[in-house]
Subunit: 311 residues, 4 copies
């Protein structure tokens, strides 16, 4: 675990964008777009990179493409920031398989949501973690995302799991702040356990009251906005935090709310990235890129928000 | 498609057990148990076999093991009944990959639930089906299982999809009989479209009022009970239907309700199969076989229900 | 309890329409419409009348109006069939108050769903029943309606409650047939405990396999259709049951599915009753009668279904 | 409206405890306890009092008792702080009835959640508000409590309703902070519209980032803790806010989490109030006070938290 994890701070702090996966078609990476995206995000000063999460459409991608992505990202980032890679899978064996590739490629950590087909109980989930983590060759961040996985990591489960070797933090995307506050209380004595917020609209309050950082989809587009917010919160500069939080709210209300369905945030984000020339807006099935009318609305928002195209 | 599907009746009728997957450990098939199970079920007179569904723990298995299972089952069944194989996957590309193996192995049809990580809308789901079905080399049964996939195939969606080439039926495991009755009404003019019930407690009423058959987990254990019920319903022998329905209720109330959690039915079923000597009760993660106390309760029920061990 | 209940059969069987409440405005009964509706329904041969249920918009009515309705209905029915009256309330004390008025007015039974504001547990619910039923002066039917009350009467709870003096049956409107079949199994030895189906699309199968009757909203409009179905099922005349079941499906698919929102069934039913001249379509807040476009669609359906206006 | 509302600030700010309703039995107020509770809370410096909400068990009380409570509270508070009274009801007519009594008793505002039996759509809800508010003689606070009412006040609905005469604020008890942040964004230009948080675990962050106050159940017990937190947030004293927030978390994790079921917070709160000698712990049906074991745990927590008994 040494060579990979020596650049992984404990606890991990800061802004770790959940990277979108640029695609040219159903099973082909947009390689040039991927390179631009990585450099764009790193130039914004982010503290890590999380690939193959929900925003990365991981479950929709073929295993072949996931492996290619892992290789390319690690090859390009070259240790400038820690790379975290999602290994969530309904199959225990496939999660172990992918974790080994992640380690070989040189990434620093893996990210794991519960297996998401069968509804399991908390004791089943805990036993699953107990069996799985010894087989994983890298530090593990838990990933709480109950609206997609149907299963929450209860605070008591996280407290127990935090003592398993290798489990180093949690990314909470539930949007349930009472849950997050309870997590903090339950893990008060685990000083190096990372508590990361997956919902950017809640980033400001998390940082002001004891959270360690954010996994913010919008940081694909405007990495510096989130990094500035993080820095302002570190300095307890409340007026600046409030002003930047309002910009985050504007972005999320505009870009993520075009079109029907829950996939709006993903479609809007990829569309905006393509509007500013970073990468393709092709989406993996079962989703499809915005059509002309929605594309125009996103284009207008991008202009209104003052997001400047990449040269 | 010809060689595989020439034994697939339209509409498919009767009892098609969703086969459990006998395992020795996390990534090893119980080959001898599998052979016994197949012969046990076929001896009961069933009208087809459905592998790699929910009862088969498909999403929890490695791809390697799934492929091995497909080969072995098709090789042993040898066309005695149609074999249906689950190809549900969050990744479009992986669903196509597995469908090609299914065809090569000689199975007769594939079974497809919606991709189950991202919550999609009905129009997204329909577009997904429109793109996917032309790439599938075998007839397709839809699989409605909203409590696991978070997404229902709305009756209007099914009616539209029923006109896509290759879509030949639906297995409904929602447990929502009003939904099933609406399906029947919406598909009244699709005479060769199969309407199959996935909840055995509702098999009797489905057969009495126009449904074509059942995909009954309990038929792993007692195939003849369900076949007898099917035959009684065909003959409109109401008293016999009622008596057999009561036996089904007894089995499901006993065997499927031991232990906490939603996985009880699966654990109970595998445990009972092991009690009668058919196959191992090892379960794929995130589940684990019953411990001593629950095992004893299942053993007692098996005896009370008069299920005789295999020699 | 004697004078009221001497006409209440045990178990109660047959068709018991959940009567709509005809209104002229927010707090005024449509008295003439109410009289026509009662006679229309009784002329169809129904076996009882259930007022102040969900279809009767009970929770939306003032207590004053509820009392007036109870008096008028009992006064007009005059014991021709049993009258059942909903007393569901979030307040224990108000449920007792209304039950006393029900008894005084001469009705035969009360109907009780769980208190529906606070989410209670099953043991809390059972204790509530234990405290409430001794204070009720009439036989009690439980009313399972979890989508509205957020709380299900679990089969084990019903089995325990079935031994409390005064509890004589249950109306299940959950639409969950597996639940209903489990209820039947749990109450097998309570021969005089009524099992009534509240979803008319499931009436046929309930009657064919052991249920006692139905509380069918459509019987406000076409009482004889449901009574005929009941009689056909008693005679085990399967083809006739199937034909009548299809008519029920047609009615429910047409009349109950106009307009958005879950209130469609209620708005459609009241609108259809007004189309055939039985009573006003005014609805209690928070609902409002259909506007012109929806009204026309209902009018067309009424004609297509061959429902003839009252003279 | 004048005489009542002249002490209602716009926007209303600060700590407004949702008062528990002290009871001696099912339909009898604990009058002495009520007097002690009011004085205890006012002595803590709170900025208003909210009676007949969820914490006040309003839906479980008889109308007679609700009226008595309104009279007694207004009579005792005598304008020292604004009194807000819940008028939520499934019946429009009963909401108007109770609002008139509230006005006559001298309270300053009413609080209204959606009618909670029938599931309504947003346009139905908006029409309901449009009809109801002109009939209410006092300013209205909306009350968002979807887990109990099954219906959310969507941000767009609130923005429209904020322009209706008489609607002056909202209390959000959803626990959904993204919702709360969206509300703030949608109501940015309604400077005198109160945004109040109903979940005390989220009070600190709400106050730090633009919210106006909190309706905190724990303020029945420790009013000064919440008032201190409010004052610290007004002064942007982040370390003090954080320290007081931790006390709030301790209280809520201890007192509200004894016993099973969602009613734990209510039972724990009433039990703690009785432990310190303020009022009886009798609960309205369908709930019942804690038994000996749970009572002892609460007693221990009360001691550990340093809550001193009233003399």
């Amino acid at each position: 675990m040494e060579s990979n994890s020596n650049i992984l701070p404990r606890p991990l702090r800061g802004i770790i964008p959940p990277m979108v996966t640029p695609l040219l078609d159903r099973d082909t990476l947009d390689v040039a777009g991927l390179e631009r995206l990585i450099e764009h995000v790193l130039a914004g000063g982010v503290h890590g990179l999380f690939i193959l999460g929900t925003t990365g459409e991981a479950p929709s991608l073929s295993y072949r493409l996931r492996y290619e992505l892992i290789e390319r990202v690690c090859g390009q980032v070259k240790g400038r920031v820690p790379v975290l890679v999602g290994i969530t899978d309904t199959s225990f064996v496939e999660s172990v398989n992918i974790a080994c590739k992640v380690k070989d490629a040189g990434a620093q950590a893996v990210v794991l949501a519960p297996p998401y087909y069968f509804p399991a109980g908390q004791s089943e989930l805990l036993e699953y973690l107990k069996h799985l983590t010894p087989e994983l060759p890298l530090p593990v961040f838990l990933y709480n995302m109950p609206s997609y996985t149907k299963l929450v990591f209860e605070p008591a489960t996280v407290r127990t799991a935090a003592d398993f070797p290798g489990i180093v933090g949690i990314k909470d995307s539930s949007g349930d702040m009472i849950y997050f506050r309870r997590l903090q209380k339950f893990l008060k004595n685990h000083k190096d356990f990372s508590l990361l917020m997956g919902q950017e609209q809640l980033l400001a309050e998390v940082l002001l009251l004891g959270g360690h950082g954010g996994v913010c989809g919008g940081a694909n587009l405007l990495p510096q906005l989130y990094v500035d917010l993080y820095n302002a919160a570190c300095l307890k500069d409340l007026p600046k935090v409030e002003a930047l939080h309002e910009k985050v709210m504007e972005l999320s209300t505009a870009i993520y709310k075009v079109g029907r369905y829950e996939s709006s945030f993903l479609k809007g984000l990829k569309c905006a990235l393509s509007c500013v020339g970073i990468c393709s807006d092709f989406m993996a099935e079962p989703f499809h890129r915005f059509r002309r009318a929605e594309h125009k609305r996103i284009q207008r928002y991008v202009k209104e928000l003052g997001i400047t195209p990449e040269r």
